[in-house]
Symmetry: C2
Subunit: 123 residues, 2 copies
């Protein structure tokens, strides 16, 4: 049918980068910059597809881990590869390494100096 939505790839990718391929749901939410509800809802289909699996914490019954399965890791590798190809196509022959670095640095500083919510423009 189709591949992963970008946000699903980011979801799996974070797990792939995490030690033990596992993350608490709160931490995953933080790293993805989304709410906990979103993590809950994103996880469901990925569990059904067998890309992630739930695990409980033996010490703290509140926390639920999301852990990347073997098929999940395989899937991330493929998706990352095609995403990297896309990125390469975008930048090759149009951007120098220095320009990319500059953009990255400026964007980092910009997000750092931005307020959390600029949605409401005072009356």
């Amino acid at each position: 049918m189709h591949g992963l939505a970008l946000r699903e790839l980011m979801f799996l990718w974070q797990l792939d980068q995490a030690p033990g391929s596992r993350l608490r749901r709160v931490d995953l939410a933080t790293r993805l910059n989304v709410s906990q509800s979103t993590v809950t809802r994103l996880a469901l289909p990925l569990e059904k597809l067998g890309f992630v699996r739930r695990e409980a914490d033996p010490r703290d019954a509140r926390v639920g881990y999301v852990v990347l399965t073997k098929p999940g890791r395989q899937r991330v590798a493929e998706a990352r590869a095609t995403l990297e190809r896309m990125a390469t196509d975008i930048f090759r022959d149009r951007w120098t390494g220095k320009e990319i670095a500059t953009l990255g640095e400026l964007l980092g500083r910009l997000t750092a100096s931005l307020p959390g919510d600029i949605d409401a423009v005072g009356s």
Copy 2:
């Protein structure tokens, strides 16, 4: 209660910049980078608040203009002022004019070279 949402300000702002303070709904959608449905829905509350008014085209009965009213223009001016204060606060003492210019130029080139839809990552 509260002020305008950012997207409502952009809506009114586009009208303010347009010749005659009026725009066809399609063109407004294009300038705001949103769908026509969104323009329809955004316009409704703004009409009720009296910031914009509908007008028909005498030549073409299909098109509906959105035109900025006098209170609307007043409101845009206020909101723009506070938005500019916010922007000034963000950049002052942290960014040089040259850095802002560089960021703007790089972002422009980036969006120009980006594909429309990168939401699906091929299987």
